[in-house]
Amino acid sequence: MIRIVTSVLAATMAMSLPARAEDLVFLSTQLRPVEEAQKMREIILKAGPVLTTYVADFPQVVPTRLAAEREGGKHTVSLVGGLHGELQPLVTAGDLMPMDVLAAKLAGRGIPPALMELGKLGTAHQMYIPWMQATYIMVANKQALPFLPKGADINALTFDQLAEWSAAVQASTGKRMLGFPAGPQGLMHRFFEGFLYPSYTGGVVSTFKSAEAEAMWTQFAALWKTVNPNSTSYNFMQEPLLAGDVWIGFDHVARMLDALRQKPDQFVAFPAPAGPKGRGYMPVIAGLAIAQGAPDAKGAEALIDYLSTPATQIKMAQTSGFFPVVTATLPDDLEPGLKLAVAAIARTQSAPDAKPSLLPIGLGTQGGAFDKIYLDTFQRVVLRGEKPRAVLDRQAEGLKKIMAETGAPCWLPDKPSQGPCPVE
C-alpha cells in the first residue's frame, strides 16, 4: 500500500517536472532519493549532450511502464537505467534494443570485459552498457600491514594468506583483529554468496554441497578462530575499524566509506581474497539500456557515451557513492578516502582471476529464505562447530525447495540452467 502511494506520488512529481516534448526521457531505478536525483539533474545531466528529463522510479514500476508503452504503441522512454537484475526481465519481455554498434564504439573506455559480458544478459548482443558499480572490499588498518605474510601482495591476497596474516596479528597482539559484518543487519550472507563460495567452488547454488564446499567450510571455520568474536554483532564494519577493535575488515564499500573518509591516512583498501577457483566478487552493477521503440535512440546513445566518459564517471562517484566502471584517472583533488575506495574497486574488478558473482536473480520474496540457508550453514558449521558434510546435506534440501518453488534459473557464477538452478 505504502509502495503504491509513494510510487503514485513519485509519478506525480515526475509529471510536474518541466518535461518538454522534445526532451529525452531517462527512466532510472537508481539515484532515487530526491537529493541524489537532483544532483543527477543539476550536475550530471545539465552538462550532457541532450536535453533530458530524468525520471527516477521504483524497480517494479519500470517493466510495467515499458509494457504499457509497448502495448499502447506510444513510446516516451528512450533510456533505461537499472541494476543488472532489474534489466534482465526487460530483455525477456523484448523491451530493450541491442546496442552492439555503441558497444564497439565505447570499447576504448576500458570497461572490464567481464562487465561488458554481463551487459549481454545471456544473449548474443550487447543489451546494456555498464554504467556504475559498487562492490564489497576489504579495509585494513595500517598497523596490521607489518604482519602480512612474506611475499604476499595485499592486492592479490589468497584466503590462505589472509588466514596466515590474521593469525600473525593475533600472535603478536593477543587479540583477534579480523572482522566480518555478521550482525543482525550485517551483509555477511553476501560474503558467502558472492565471495567465499565462488572462490572455492566456482558456483553458489549448484556447488552448494560439493566436496569443495565441504573443504571450504572446514577452512573457513579454522580462519574464524582468528576472527573477533564480536563479529556476530557488527552491522557496519566502519565502526569497529574506526574504534580499533578490528584491524582487517570485509564489507560493502558504502558501509566502510566513513572509516576511509575520516581517517584516510590510517587505512588501506584492497580486493577480497582469492580461493582455488578464482577471486569471487559480487559486483553491484547498474547499466544503461535503450528502450525498444525509443523515440530518441540517437540521443540515448549520445547520452550513454557522455555518461561513460571518465570525467562524468568521476563526477558520479563524487555525487552518488557509486563508482566508475571505466578506466578513469582520478583528479588529484579527489577526496582521499574516496580515492582509496575507487582504487580498491578498480583492482577488484580488473584482477586477472576475478570471478563476478551476481546478486541472486529471480527469487522474489524468497530472497530472505535464500540468504538464511547460507547464514544457518555458517552458524552451524562455524559458530557451533557441527560437521560440514551433515550440515550441507541438510541445508541443501532447503535450498532445493527454494529453487523449485521460485523456478529461478542459475545466475553467475553458476552455469546457465534450463529450469530451476539445480543443487548438485
Partner: protein, 277 residues
Amino acid sequence: MIPYILIAPSLLFLGVLFLVPLVQTIALAFQVHGAWTTANFTTMADDINFHDAIVDTFAIVAIAVPLQLVLALGMAMMLRGLGRGRDIVLWIWSIPLGISDLAAGLVWLAILTDQGFLNTVLLKLGLVSGPVSWLSYETPTALLIGIAFAELWRATAIVLVILVAGVQMLPKEYNEAADVFGASPWQRFTRITLPLLKPSIQTALILRTVLAFEMFAIVQAIGGRNFPVIVGEAFTWQYTNQNFGVAAAYAVVVMLVSLAATLVYLRALRTPREQIG
C-alpha cells in the same frame, strides 16, 4: 440496557483491534499458500534458533522475575519505613519506567560493550589487562547475566509500583496488634504483610511474567543474533526471512506461553473469597 450501550464502544474497540488480529494471526500460523497445514510449526521447530530461543526466553524469565519480586518487596518495605524523602526515593526508583526498552538496551550495551564503561572501570582498577568481551557468542553465561541485569534494572520498577500501591492499602491494625503480642519484624512480614499483599503480588507477577516472555528490544540491543528469544525470532521471520506464517507461529507460541503462565499464577496465588475485603 443502558450499561450494555455504555460498554459497547470499548467492546467494539477490543473486538476490532484485538480479537480480529488475534484470529487472523492464528489463521496465518496454520496456512501456507492458503492451504491449512501445520507446516509453519514444523519449520519453526526445525529451525536452528528455535531451541535456543525457547531456552533463552525461559532462562531470563526464571532468573529475572523472582529476583524482581524479591527486590521490589524489599524496596516497598524500605519505602514504608521512610518518612521524609519517601517520594523522592520512589521517584528515582521509577525512572527506568520512563525509558523505552530499546534505549535501556542501548544504555546497557554502552556499559557492557568491549570499549564500554564496565571494561574501562575494570581496566582502571587493574582487574583486567585489556577489553574483555562480555556479550559475544563465546561467553553465553556473561551474556545471559548481562541481559538479566538490564532486565532487572529496567523492569523492577513496575513490580515496585504495583506493590507500593498494595502496601498502602494494608490496614495498620494487624501490624500494630502483632507488635503488641511481641512478633518480630520478620514474623510480621511473613505472617501478615505477605498474605495480605497476595492480590498485588499476583497482579505484579502476571504483568511482569507476560512482559518478560515478550521481551525483545533490550535483548535485540544487547545480544543481537547471539541471544535469540521468541519474539525476536518472530521479528526475524517476519522482516528478514519474509515468512509471515512462521512469524505467526511464533506469535501463537508466545500467546500460549503467556496464557499458561497467567493461569498458573491465578491458581497458585488464589485469594479465598472470604479474605477479600
